[in-house]
């Protein structure tokens, strides 16, 4: 198991390096010249050459890539002499827009994305798993049919549509909720919840729907398994049969999918953050793409990739813990 984890960690590093390389190449071949972008409006050819040198853009691409990777692990210095700028570990470069370190931009925005992801996840686990289990146990009932109709709309409605409808109903019509604005959850928990509730519901609607359908299907399969019949043959009360024997087996795959979804959202919920004006990682990506802010786009891409790849690793390990038949060597 330890050997497996070590092997996987090495693979994770490799994957991230490849992603890094691919993004790097994409931006290198992009027609927009970063130096011109960084330079702004009033620009002279001398100034551009200077910036190119400062950013290391006059060096061969493999050298640039090497510098970039080294910078992530050891920090780096841009430019030389008077103009030298120190970029400490973990260095993802500076934004062309405001010259702030990409890493600190990400760190500023991580709490927002994490707030959205974790709150929404708690909500959709509760609603999705609960609705799925109850639907499966009462298959064909009015509850089941109703829940599945709602779930179908949940998976088919686009997130921006749900978000706008929620904003319209709760903010504009009912005036129940202030316009979502992120606040520190530790200093103002109530304000945090009221600000986050609409983004949470937006995401949770989609994911609850997906999870309810998955859970229902899983429970229906599991409750028809022979081992569930064995559990009943032992005389176990129905609650134990459902929870210990049914849900344990039905929810294991759902939980592993959950790990991947959560990892993905931690890397930024682009649409939700943008619609609600939440300054999260996703919104950062959106703005950076609009301004072709290459270091920021690179940084966000790597950051999101890191969460996804890592979530996959954790899920695989979790699976081996949850299902004794799975053995990694």
């Amino acid at each position: 198991m330890i050997r497996y984890i070590v092997r996987r960690l090495i693979a994770v590093a490799g994957i991230l390096l490849v992603i890094c390389g691919i993004t790097f190449v994409i931006f290198y071949v992009l027609p927009a010249d970063p130096a011109t972008l960084a330079c702004g409006r009033a620009c002279t050819p001398e100034r551009i050459a200077e910036i190119q040198h400062q950013l290391g853009l006059d060096r061969p691409i493999y050298q640039q890539f090497f510098d970039y990777v080294v910078g992530i692990f050891a920090g780096r210095t841009f430019g030389t002499g008077e103009a030298a700028v120190q970029c400490p570990f973990p260095c993802l470069g500076f934004s062309y827009q405001n010259n702030l370190p990409v890493w600190s931009l990400l760190m500023d925005r991580l709490p927002v994305s994490a707030s959205i992801a974790i709150g929404a996840a708690a909500l959709w686990l509760l609603v999705g798993l609960g609705a799925g289990v109850i639907s499966a146990l009462r298959k064909g009932s009015l509850w089941d049919r109703g829940a599945m109709v709602v779930a179908l709309s949940g998976v088919s409605l686009p997130v921006y549509f749900t978000a706008l409808v929620l904003l319209y109903v709760f903010y504009i019509r009912l005036e129940l909720i202030p316009y979502p604005e992120f606040v520190n959850p530790f200093t103002d928990p109530a304000g945090w919840i009221s600000a986050m509730i609409l983004p949470w519901i937006t995401l949770a609607f989609l994911f609850s729907a997906m999870y309810a359908r998955l859970t229902r299907a899983g429970m229906l399969d599991t409750m028809a398994e022979n081992y569930v019949r064995t559990a009943r043959a032992k005389g176990l009360p129905e609650r134990t049969v459902v929870v210990k024997h049914g849900m344990r087996a039905a929810l294991t795959p759902v939980i592993t999918i959950f790990g991947i979804d959560l990892g993905q959202l931690l890397g930024g919920a682009l649409i939700t953050e943008t619609v609600f004006g939440m300054p999260g990682v996703g919104q950062l990506a959106y703005q950076a793409i609009g301004t072709i802010d290459q270091p920021v786009i690179m940084g966000v891409t790597l950051f999101a990739a890191f969460f996804i790849v890592f979530a996959n690793l954790i899920v695989d390990i979790l699976y081996a813990v949850l299902d004794p038949r799975v053995r990694y060597t």
């Binding site: 064995t230 032992k234 005389g235 299902d323 038949r325």
Partner: protein, 345 residues
């Protein structure tokens, strides 16, 4: 004196989208302590549904009629919680496929202990000790070392032993084994059957052994009940059903017996055709479309044969006269069975 288990005129129906399935249609039998009843029939003849109905384990949209009495307690109309309390305690069941019947995520110890603690309220330590004893008793080597293993770490035969240990955890009065050896290798089959017989002798359990294979019943049962299309067609002592069978369907089964001591190619011919759908049971005698001795159209396709005692006292449902039955058996069946026994032996 009444028997431990009395099943009377049991009828089970399922309503499905395709129609009403008459899965069990008028089955009666008794089993007493220390006795083994073999229920035999091809797949789809209602054997499993009969046992699940006794255990109160039927699922889906079904109705049960008739009565099941265990040690004086009527179960069909009883409170489901009352029946649940009996399950795993006074009556237990083992199933055909031990791998899928054991929970893949829990150790075998956990699964045995769970049943024992539920009904006895024993502490974890006591229950664990009991589980080790049981695993040893059913022939699992080094039970202390295996109790924390998962089902997938055992072989098929060992898994079935685990199932048996689990079923016996609370010393049940009645054990129903539904095709306990069908999924196992031929060599292991005999071991499992012997184990069940040994344990039965030791604990005085009443056993219902369900199989599609008359040969399996021959080894261990005291009585045999042959079912076809959800109905009983022949019922008597092992001697009567196995050596003096009087129903053409039983003859067919006898000709397709698996002999554990013989290679498959020496086995006899199976009955031609397939068992009917239990939604559309053939008129008259349900076996008539496949019966080589049928009398058509009357009475076999028009009248349901009476299920009545024949000479010698066992029950048979067939229109053939006593004389026809005895003669046909002596002329057609006996020589075939005997010659093949000689050939194979």
């Amino acid at each position: 004196m009444t028997s431990l288990l009395e099943v009377e005129d049991l009828r089970v129906r399922f309503s499905t989208e395709d129609g009403v399935v008459r899965a069990v249609d008028g089955v009666s039998f008794e089993v007493d302590r220390g006795q083994t009843l073999g229920i035999v029939g091809e797949s789809g003849s209602g054997k499993s549904v009969t046992s699940l109905a006794i255990m109160g384990l039927l699922r889906g949209r079904f109705t049960v009629e008739g009565s099941v009495t265990l040690g004086g307690d009527e179960l069909v109309r009883a409170d489901p919680d009352f029946v649940r309390e009996l399950r795993g305690n006074r009556m237990a069941m083992i199933f055909q496929d031990p791998l899928s019947s054991l929970h893949p995520y829990y150790t075998v110890g956990n699964q045995i202990i769970e049943a024992y603690r539920l009904h006895t309220g024993a502490t974890k330590r006591v229950a664990r000790k009991r589980a080790v004893d049981l695993l040893g008793r059913v022939g699992i080597p080094q039970p202390e070392g295996r109790i924390d293993d998962y089902p997938h770490q055992f072989s098929g035969g060992m898994r079935q032993r685990v199932m048996i240990a689990m079923a016996l955890a609370c010393d049940p009065e009645l054990l129903i084994a539904d095709e306990p050896t069908t999924a196992l290798d031929v060599t292991v089959q005999a071991q499992i059957l012997n184990l069940i017989a040994d344990l039965q002798e030791e604990f005085g359990t009443a056993v219902i052994l369900i199989t599609h294979d008359l040969g399996v019943v021959a080894g261990v049962a005291d009585e045999a009940l042959v079912m076809y299309a959800g109905r009983p067609v022949e019922h008597g002592t092992l001697r009567q059903v196995f050596y003096e069978p009087r129903h053409p369907y039983t003859w067919g089964l006898l000709s397709s017996v698996t002999r554990l001591d013989r290679e498959p190619e020496h086995r006899l011919r199976p009955i031609s055709g397939n068992p009917p759908s239990l939604i559309d049971v053939p008129s008259g005698c349900p076996f008539h479309p496949r019966c080589p001795y049928r009398m058509l159209p009357e009475p076999c396709s028009t009248e349901v044969p009476e299920y009545a005692p024949v000479n010698g006292g066992h029950l048979v449902a067939c229109h053939l006269s006593e004389q026809e039955r005895t003669e046909t058996f002596a002329r057609d069946i006996l020589p075939r069975v005997q010659s093949s026994v000689r050939k194979g032996g």
